[in-house]
């Protein structure tokens, strides 16, 4: 290896994206590349960017699939706005992704894929590799398909089969560019293709060929070094938000000693939670794939009545279908975790793209006065913690809790420092004792207004609950006007009192001043990075990022009133901002919204912050 003959360029953070046809294996290559970054000790965040079609027509723009990795030697908060390196496997993916390349970015291109037909299919009139339109970039043209086939000739692999490994050739080239060792990937191939050692061998040969080829080309003038990040000690893994959510739910089940039940119906981008939980039978998780969204939540309500820690997982359209049943859980005052991995809406909308537009639905989308706890995760890794908290609050307060994540968090990944169960907060569900002669279905704890959880099979606690309004305390069916008002107030007050059991809202920056930027949920990384950048420039700006939405933390109003201007940034048409407007009198509240199925870019945020700071 001669790479040390080249200068080494140290970078604090780098964004790399793999783009190609849906069948080109970009997710696989991207996943391996992020593993290599993790092994090198980088902090990182990843995001797959793929179409909702499984295999759209070859070489077309709708068929482009991508995987983005943001890795760094400092804390990484987002998956990155613009790319430093893009691996391009065909013309359509170049056309769809060039807008995400930084000026001067390295484009590593499989030139074999740029034949006349593919160029035309992508909508180009001339070959972009030859017409000088990419002059602003560091273009590396490599005949990746040809070289992959050649590398496998001796093994007797059919050219067509061989071409399928071209993603590994490109990955090998990247390993050279980023000075990453090949061994961890070799080990991975051995494990993955245990039953077919030939496949492991093919992948190894091609990966190494790509690595060696990169060493021979002059266009790669330097090797990029991203050093290890200074992370707190511990055991780390790379985790997606959906897996983290599943683990958070499992952890809460173990802590509360209430086995987990999931009733769920597959829906993008939430299905991975269902699939992950289905794996963990050894932890006692009961997973029911229902015939529809409604059966998913109703089975969970049944399981909750029967004493299990019940959850249902979905995305926006599924949450709409579950609305009536959420009302049943509110009325019967049963614990239930509803995870909504938000996507672009309304209707089918943008299934694989992210949005924050289910907030109002989560807060209010039901018939009757129907309050639930609403909380939101803000990073792929903290989906674990907030899923745990959703289960804890739901069980301890005997009411449904909606956890909002989104496609960006759910599909995306981040480093996750493995917790230990002993350090997780305790969970004490209010389970009624057998033969408690004072038990009444709607008798309440005076402090929390929470009723007891009387589990079928327990001696001496037989009772009936249901969707009809019940008399307070006794739980018999009642249409008494004053009782209905009282019960409506009690259900609302019970949820409002959850504010006594959640942390106060934190603020990043001065507690009073010119501009408070407010955000919630999955936008944390971008908004935090933008605010941090402006703070470093000496601007008077603070940031409050909300995880607890209903109820809001007790100090919310006080915080908001400390600033001359408030700017609420969200990926919808203005839902949290209007929730704050209806909750408090705030004359100076502004909003910044984006509804494109894409995350915020840091520069569009800082532009908006500067504009508000300059306006008098």
């Amino acid at each position: 290896m001669t790479k040390f003959n080249r200068p080494v360029e140290e970078r604090e953070s780098v964004v790399v994206k793999f783009v190609g046809d849906s069948g080109d294996g970009m997710q696989f290559a991207g996943g391996l590349f992020s593993d290599s970054a993790a092994f090198a000790g980088n902090d990182l965040a990843t995001f797959p960017d793929f179409p909702s079609e499984i295999r759209a027509p070859q070489n077309t723009i709708p068929g482009v699939s991508g995987f983005q990795v943001h890795m760094g030697s400092a804390k990484i908060y987002t998956t990155g706005d613009l790319c430093d390196v893009i691996v391009v496997m065909n013309p359509a993916s170049l056309r769809a992704n060039l807008k995400w390349a930084k000026v001067g970015a390295t484009l590593l291109v499989d030139s074999d894929a740029f034949d006349e037909k593919a160029i035309e299919k992508a909508g180009y009139t001339s070959n972009p590799l030859e017409d000088n339109s990419l002059a602003k970039y560091n273009l590396i043209k490599a005949p990746i398909t040809t070289l992959t086939k050649e590398g496998l000739k001796d093994l007797g692999v059919e050219p067509k089969t061989a071409a399928r490994s071209k993603n590994m050739f490109a990955l090998g080239m990247l390993y050279f560019i980023f000075n990453r060792p090949l061994k961890p990937s070799f080990k991975f191939f051995d494990a993955k293709f245990k039953k077919d050692p030939t496949l492991a061998r093919i992948n190894k040969i091609v990966l190494e060929a790509g690595y060696n080829y990169a060493d021979t080309i002059e266009a790669i003038a330097s090797v990029i070094q991203v050093s290890a990040a200074k992370l707190p000690p511990g055991r780390y893994r790379n985790i997606t938000g959906n897996v983290a959510t599943a683990w958070g739910l499992l952890a809460a089940a173990e802590k509360s000693k209430r086995p987990l039940f999931l009733g769920s119906y597959p829906i993008t981008p939430a299905s991975e939670i269902l699939m992950e939980l289905a794996k963990h039978k050894s932890l006692g998780a009961k997973v029911f794939q229902a015939e529809d969204e409604i059966a998913g939540i109703c089975s969970a309500i049944g399981a909750s009545y029967a004493g299990l820690m019940a959850c249902t997982t979905t995305s926006g359209p599924g949450l709409s279908l579950k609305s009536e049943a959420i009302g049943l859980a509110v009325m019967t005052e049963l614990p239930l975790v509803i995870v909504d991995v938000q996507r672009g809406g309304p209707s089918t909308g943008l299934p694989t793209k992210s949005e924050q537009s289910d907030l109002m639905q989560a807060l209010f989308g039901r018939n009757g006065e129907c309050p639930v706890i609403v909380i939101a995760a803000s990073s792929s890794d903290n989906c674990f913690y907030y899923a745990y908290m959703a289960a804890k609050l739901s069980m301890e307060h005997m009411t449904p809790c909606i956890l909002l994540t989104d496609g960006y968090l759910g599909f995306g990944s981040a480093l996750f420092r493995d917790p230990r169960m002993v350090n997780m907060p305790p969970i004490h569900p209010p389970v009624a004792k057998p033969n408690d002669s004072t038990y009444k279905p709607y008798k309440r704890n005076p402090e929390t207004l929470v009723r007891d959880w009387a589990i079928p099979g327990t001696e001496g606690l037989r009772h009936r609950i249901g969707g009809l309004e019940k008399e307070n305390i006794t739980g018999t069916v009642s249409t008494d006007p004053l009782n209905h008002q009282r019960m409506t107030e009690l259900r609302a007050e019970k949820v409002a009192r959850v504010a006594n059991y959640i942390p106060e809202q934190e603020i990043d920056g001065p507690k009073k001043g010119e501009l408070l930027v407010v955000s919630w949920g999955g936008t944390f990384g971008a908004v935090h990075s933008a605010v941090q950048q402006m703070q470093q420039e000496g601007k008077k700006i603070s940031h409050a990022h909300f995880h607890y939405i209903n109820p809001l933390p007790k100090n919310t109003e006080k915080i908001l009133k400390g600033f001359k201007k408030i700017l609420v940034c969200e990926l919808n048409a203005g839902q949290f901002v209007n929730y704050l407007r209806m909750s408090f009198t705030l004359p100076n509240i502004h909003q910044f919204n984006k509804v494109q199925g894409l995350p915020f870019m840091i520069n569009e945020l800082t532009d908006k912050f500067n504009q508000l700071l300059e306006e008098k």
Binding site: F261, S282, G302, A303, S304, D418, L461
Partner: protein, 346 residues
């Protein structure tokens, strides 16, 4: 109290009807068939011998679905059409409960139709009492999925133009393992069918031809009334030839692939020609034919038509968990945290 082989914990004392009577006023119309169904349940529950805390009643919406309030067990009154998924959640959560569902033809076959077929297909061990009054009662008289063609109702003033479901046919089409049909005016037959349903491992559907005295009065009387029942009701008993008529002079014979009504003594027909009922036959074909029979050319078939043995969903859930836990390296969360691709930062 009779012995049933199940994992549900049994009572040590003989329970009575009174143990299951709730303190709530029963608000069905006087003369409604639901009163008789309630009486049958109050007879069956003590006979089953389970601890009274181990019964759980689930319902959806409709007249039938007020049922849980009137029985002193654990119970949950759900939302329209969703009794079966709620009951599935309960049974999967705790297979050691005897879970009963009270539902109607609208609740189960219209708004809840999807859940109905899938619950049956999965064979969840539930006892489902389907009150079939061929009408929407609680919403005041609209036609239902079982209302016969051309019936005048509040929402079909010129007669319905929809083909009704035959519930037995639907159950068997959905791979049902248990189907019984009973009239609401025969307490003994109802009680027996419910008892058999409870004994059966799997989704047991008991179709109860129930009279709605207000909106579809006498809808079933053409078959179940005293004057009609001999000729139009044919009660099947396992292992016995299928006979009906005032003196059991008529019977069903399998002719090729079809059933036909024959009279004993006519054309040299003897008892040996009559089809013998086998409710345990795994092949549902004859059960399906029996369930579909009806006027004008055939009697309607009652009793336990099918009770075939197949694994239940809830048993398989337990089995998968048991196998999953056996020799599993991940027995608690701290093991999971240590599994997979991780690396240590010191």
């Amino acid at each position: 109290m009779e012995y049933i082989n199940s994992t549900i914990e049994r009572t040590t004392v003989q329970l009575e009807k009174a143990d299951f009577e709730s303190d709530q006023m029963v608000k069905w119309c006087p003369g409604c068939g639901a009163h008789a169904i309630l009486a049958a349940v109050e007879r069956v529950f003590p006979r089953l011998g389970y601890k009274k805390e181990n019964f759980c009643l689930v319902s959806g919406i409709g007249c039938s679905s007020r049922f849980p309030y009137y029985v002193n067990t654990y119970g949950i009154h759900g939302i329209h059409g969703r009794a079966l998924p709620i009951a599935t959640g309960i049974k999967v959560a705790n297979p050691h409960l005897s879970v009963w569902v009270a539902t109607g033809d609208g609740d189960s076959l219209a708004i809840g139709g999807n859940h109905f077929i899938h619950t049956i297909r999965r064979n969840v061990d539930l006892n489902i009492m389907l009150f079939n009054n061929e009408i929407y009662g609680l919403t005041k008289g609209q036609y239902s999925p079982t209302t016969p063609m051309n019936t005048v109702t509040k929402s079909s003033p010129h007669g319905t133009i929809e083909h009704p479901f035959n519930i037995g046919e639907l159950v068997m089409g959905a791979q049902g393992t248990f189907f019984a049909r009973v009239p609401d005016n025969d307490l003994t037959m109802m009680t027996e069918a419910m008892f058999e349903a409870a004994k059966h491992d799997g989704a047991s559907i008991v179709e109860i031809l129930q009279n709605c005295i207000i909106f579809a009065d006498k809808a079933h009387f053409g078959i179940t009334s005293k004057e009609n029942r001999d000729d139009h009701m044919c009660v099947v008993i396992d292992g016995q030839p299928i006979l009906f008529g005032h003196n059991k002079e008529k019977g069903l014979r399998l002719n090729g692939t079809e059933l036909e009504v024959v009279e004993l003594g006519n054309n040299n027909i003897t008892i040996d020609d009559i089809l013998v009922h086998d409710r345990y036959n795994p092949d549902p074909w004859i059960h399906m034919m029996l369930a579909k029979l009806g006027p004008p050319h055939f009697p309607k078939v009652f009793g336990v038509i099918r009770s075939a043995m197949f694994p239940t969903y809830d048993d398989l859930v337990e089995e998968k968990i048991r196998l999953g836990q056996k020799d599993a390296p991940i027995k608690k969360m701290d093991h999971l945290f240590k599994s997979g691709d991780t690396w240590e930062i010191k």
